[in-house]
Symmetry: C2
Subunit: 352 residues, 2 copies
């Protein structure tokens, strides 16, 4: 069987293009010999385009992207652009317009990876971060800006529809994992309206998944456990903002954001899902070939998995694991890391 | 000179009364011989009262409390009470009504304290968490509750008045510390209206404090640095919710919430400030004399400092440091820890 996929590539800003190049290289190696073809269309979006044209994501481009099977994204954001313009106008617009309601962020401590924790134990959990609601909806505003009477608001919007679908997805993922454990993270003792909607929804949907053990943590307590007992987590389901915060911390304890992959998934497949490293555009090291492309490469693995090619995805994970185990602390360029992983994918026989 | 202070004591729920007892014991020892007297009024507020009367914080009680010089609080919240009722109705009501706009949370890694970090370095920073605005205002609601069409909102309210006063307080604190560094933590690339108000305010107020170095971190990145390089922080100023999250993580890396003290401060002294451990009511270990009262004791130290008795506060800190250095991992009861620290305060000559 051969399959041809159309891939929209948004390399973006800063280190985005550098790490995306390596992810595409690895994807090509996997594709070869497995009957997969990825037809790529590169979209020039991000700081350069905004400076040149004032555009972040024109409607016509969004519609073109929508026609693809999947999206590979590098990173978005640049200090030369006012904070929020590209994040809201490009990255979040893609997530919202394409209804990426499952923002999937696995955290696994690979053997040999340096972690800031003295006694990390086994870390292997996945955060299912809601991707289309919460404080990220962009439903805020301000009056009397720049005066002593300025008032600025941010509204967190949460719907039964939106919470239930992501909670159900998280339960299904928990059900499919050996430990079958789901932790809801929120702040339902303060954000009572949103929090109680989440708690009630987890309780209700949980009835359909009697095998899954459920617990609840306030977001502040969850950060404590991520530092002191990360092994307690299996699947975390949480709101958009809490998920943002927890997954950076989760990345930090599992070797850093250089390794953290993510998928912005539309499980209903009504639009293409988008895969990107958790890290940002890192303008301080952009163009120096210093960025670790591993997170971008692992994100390409998540993309393969989403498209139904679990064995091919596993080849990437195995190659990354092997590469990490062989790391000796010597600095390597972005290309060198990408090539080393591509080489392993090409030559190593996958363990089934 | 002798000074008499009136102290409102809200021991609260769970381990609250146990740890508060020890804090009061230590406070009494400090008071003896230093010419200080603390007249105490205990307020029976929390789960018991709510079950008995349905009251969280009656207006008349609030007015009585308002007449005191300071408040010592244990912990609030119990699983037998719907989540949010006591937190919003009692704890947050006190913080808001008494205009505790500076929620002060120092984080210091004392020698000998176990930390989950492999290489913590020197940790000594203070979080100035805004206490009267942001997503904590209770300005949310819900429609069609319990139906598939439920919509729940939470509104973060931020005013120039509210942000400026806490930012100015944080700058003054940074100015008074050796490193003179202030880090604003927010999420101004997503919560653009609130975030830009914070960023502009820090820039404007910063002009009055030319000696203070300023930087900015997104909240997600801040959690990474707390895990990988906590020594980079000196003073953090941040919003109410981000401060809640960061200070639990900060507590985790500096020995746990058993050691983390806090002050809900009204710097204008138009109402009494309130001092409490960062930890919650920990119902799972309540009544078992297992709780560590150190955080409550250190909070009494912050209370002394706020009332202008820095030398007496220092006696508490020194006694706690000495007690911690002598800990050998053997479990001690809440009383034993309290007595050991009280004993040290009574006998050790303070290093000036
Ligand atoms: C760049 C930013 C808008 C984004 C987010 O907040 O979601 C990033 O932090 C992430 O986690 O993907
Ligand atoms: C109990 C809760 C309302 C409170 C808060 O969120 O502020 C607590 O977590 C804290 O940090 O003091």
């Amino acid at each position: 069987m051969t399959s041809t996929y159309s891939l929209a590539v948004v390399a973006g800003d800063g280190i985005g293009p550098e790490v995306t190049d390596q992810a595409l290289k690895v994807l090509d190696v996997v594709a070869q010999g497995s009957g997969l073809t990825f037809d790529r269309t590169a979209y020039d979006l991000g700081a350069r385009r905004w400076h040149a044209t004032g555009e972040t994501l024109p409607d016509t481009v969004l519609e073109e992207i929508r026609g693809h099977d999947a999206i590979l994204l590098g990173a978005v954001g640049d200090p030369s652009v006012p904070s929020g313009v590209l994040e809201r106008g490009l990255l979040l617009r893609l997530r919202f317009e394409l209804d990426h309601y499952v923002n999937l962020r696995p955290s696994k401590l690979f053997p040999g990876v340096p972690t800031p924790l003295a006694d990390p134990g086994e870390i292997d959990f996945v955060v299912v971060r809601e991707g289309t609601e919460g404080p990220y909806v962009g439903n805020g505003g301000a009056i009397r800006v720049g005066t002593p009477h300025e008032v600025a608001t941010e509204v967190s919007l949460n719907t039964a529809f939106g919470v239930e679908r992501v909670v159900r997805d998280a339960f299904a993922r928990a059900q499919a994992r050996p430990r079958r454990k789901l932790t809801l993270v929120h702040k339902n003792n303060v954000l009572v309206h949103a929090g109680h909607l989440w708690s009630r929804t987890v309780e209700a949907v949980g009835a359909e998944f009697p095998d899954v053990t459920v617990d609840y943590l306030h977001v502040d307590a969850a950060t404590i456990f991520l530092a002191t007992d990360p092994g307690r987590f299996d699947v975390i389901v949480t709101d958009n903002l809490f998920g943002d915060i927890l997954t950076d911390l989760a990345a930090a304890i599992t070797g850093g954001i250089g390794l953290a992959a993510s998928g912005n998934v539309n499980p209903d497949r009504t639009s293409p899902s988008m895969f990107e490293p958790v890290h940002g555009s890192a303008p301080d090291i952009a163009g120096q070939s210093k960025a670790d492309p591993t997170a971008a490469i692992l994100s390409a693995g998540l993309l393969l998995e989403h498209l139904g090619h679990a064995a091919e995805a596993q080849r990437i994970t195995a190659a990354v694991e092997a590469d990490i185990a062989a790391r000796d602390g010597q600095p390597r360029s972005t290309q060198e890391v990408g090539e080393a992983i591509a080489e392993r994918v090409a030559t190593e026989v996958p363990v089934a």
